[in-house]
Amino acid sequence: MRRKMNSRLLTGLIITGLMLAVILLGTFWTPYVPTAMKYGKFSPPSAAHIFGTDNFGRDIFSRVLKGSGTTLAIALSTVSIGALAGTLIGAVTGYLGGAADEILMRLNDALTAFPSFLLALLIVSLVGPGKKYSVVLALGLVFIPSFARVMRAEFATLRGRNFVTGARLMGASNGRILLIHLLPNTVRVLLPALTIGFNNAVLAEASMSFLGIGVRPPDASLGYMLSEAQGMLAKAPWYALFTGLTIVLLVFGVGLIGEGLQMQDREVA
């Protein structure tokens, strides 16, 4: 079934695609060395340094490229952890039901009621702040419940459908039904959930690094760079401006994709 993509989805895909291409490029090549401090302090955006330079004389564009890579890597890995574990839990509880379902979902409700950012902060403080990948672990864990809830609901509605009964009558095993028959049908809820999860991950990582309990030097993520930029706001406002706008554009593009996907889904229904 091929339909015309709606304009939101298309715009979102274009913005995100461009961002990804540039960020990917940035992991291999940056116009200047991101950590070199020799390009003149506080020079405003110009043809040579399109985002200007900071107080150490570093090229901000190169730093933003590198930092977006870090942010993207963290966001993608946290969402993967959350989505994989969440789908697994959702599939098992939603499809099989029973007491395990009840218990896990009550626990889930309790966890989702608690603000995820606080929970992640708590986990980081328990695991130890400043450890390199405690952010990924904390945010990944925190994202599991919301994925589990969405996926469980979907698996639970699908399990009573005729095609599932048909497959079972033909002798398909539970594993086969889950993987071959049900999983592809959950994509319509999984994809929008992924876009929302991705955006939450970007924002949460940025917040934590901004607070100094996420990514720490020598690594730099966009959030960490913003906290750095805040200190030189009076002399180099362009640092904060371009770093912040990069986050906004990244989240905006993926947000549009999510909105477009949901719209497309409504049109089918």
């Binding site: 608690f114 603000p115 924002l203 805040q230 909105e259």
Partner: protein, 317 residues
């Protein structure tokens, strides 16, 4: 009334559970605070003496009970890094954070509810584009970036307030309120966008229901149906969402407090986490958790007065 009582009972039980889990979690990771405090050069006797002084040599459950009793009588233990009673340290900060959250919450509710309700027409299509873009943009702006922009534009360029120099209510009330106002705006923008989006979706869904068509075919006008029927039916998910927002504002507030230099609870929490000052972290976490549970309960209670079906424990139809 029975519903209210059960709900309050559940509230207490949840709070007890949360406080226990927090206590246990911090117990498990904090290591030996006495050793941490004194450093590696202290002798074994010194460490033992301090353990006794801090009461760390007694059994776990006893200490939990004592800590809980202390929590409600205002005796929250002693901060490791400041050597001061936690309650005295936290009190003024709690006041500031509470003001910030409530201010932002009122802003969100007052702006987003009318916007969400009266933007139900014009769905899909090209005319919808500017609204979607604006909405998505507002959701994409992280509060700390707004905070930076605000302190640049209003602080450095226009000098309306001095970011990072929060005077406190007693010293300079106006300046303090300005700080909190800008903080509330930063916190509010993405949440307003989210609330408008979800309220609008709910109203649209409700307007497409059969009873609305019936009412209109009987000659009521759309506005009238909206205000007298649809609104009440759309409120339940929104109240739940606003309850969550109220809970989440505390978490989001941490970052805004940091950006604008507002000495609130969140900022103190982050500071204490990096100092590994566990008595302080523990207390703040429990206070925040109570706040979250309270917000949820409040939303539930309001909802059951809107929709009596909820009182029977059934799902919304």
């Amino acid at each position: 009334m029975r519903y209210v009582l059960t709900r309050l009972g559940m509230l207490l039980a949840t709070m007890l559970l949360v406080s226990f889990l927090t206590f246990a979690a911090f117990e498990a990771v904090s290591g030996d605070p006495a050793r941490n405090l004194l450093g590696t050069e202290a002798t074994e006797e010194q460490v033992m003496a301090l353990r006794e002084e801090l009461g760390l040599d007694r059994p776990f459950l006893l200490r939990y009970a004592e800590w809980l009793a202390g929590f409600f009588s205002g005796n929250l233990g002693v901060s490791y890094s400041y050597r001061q009673p936690v309650g005295k340290l936290i009190g003024p900060k709690l006041e500031i954070s509470l003001c910030l959250s409530l201010m932002s919450f009122v802003m969100i509710a007052v702006i987003s509810i009318p916007l969400g309700i009266f933007s139900y027409h014009r769905t899909g299509g090209f005319a919808d584009w500017p609204r979607t873009v604006f909405n998505q943009l507002c959701m994409a702006v992280p509060p700390f970036f707004t905070g930076i922009l605000v302190s640049w534009i209003f602080g450095i360029l226009m000098k309306v307030f001095t970011p990072g120099d929060f005077p406190g209510f007693r010293q300079d009330f106006g300046e303090s309120v300005r700080h909190l106002f800008f903080g509330a705006v930063c916190l509010g923008i993405p949440r307003i966008a989210m609330t408008v989006r979800m309220l609008r979706a709910t109203v649209i869904e409700e307007m497409n229901k059969a009873y609305v068509r019936t009412a209109i075919s009987r000659g009521h006008d759309r506005r009238g149906v909206l205000t007298s029927h649809v609104l009440k039916n759309s409120m339940v998910p929104v109240v739940t969402f606003l309850g969550q927002t109220l809970a989440e504002l505390v978490g989001a507030g941490i970052v805004v407090e940091q950006v604008l230099g507002i000495p609130g609870l969140g900022r103190f929490l982050v500071l204490s986490i990096s100092h590994r000052d566990y008595p302080v972290v523990q207390t703040i976490v429990v206070i925040l958790a109570f706040w979250v549970v309270l917000a949820g309960t409040l939303a539930d209670l309001i909802n059951q007065s809107i929709d009596p079906r909820l009182r029977l424990g059934g799902n919304r139809g």
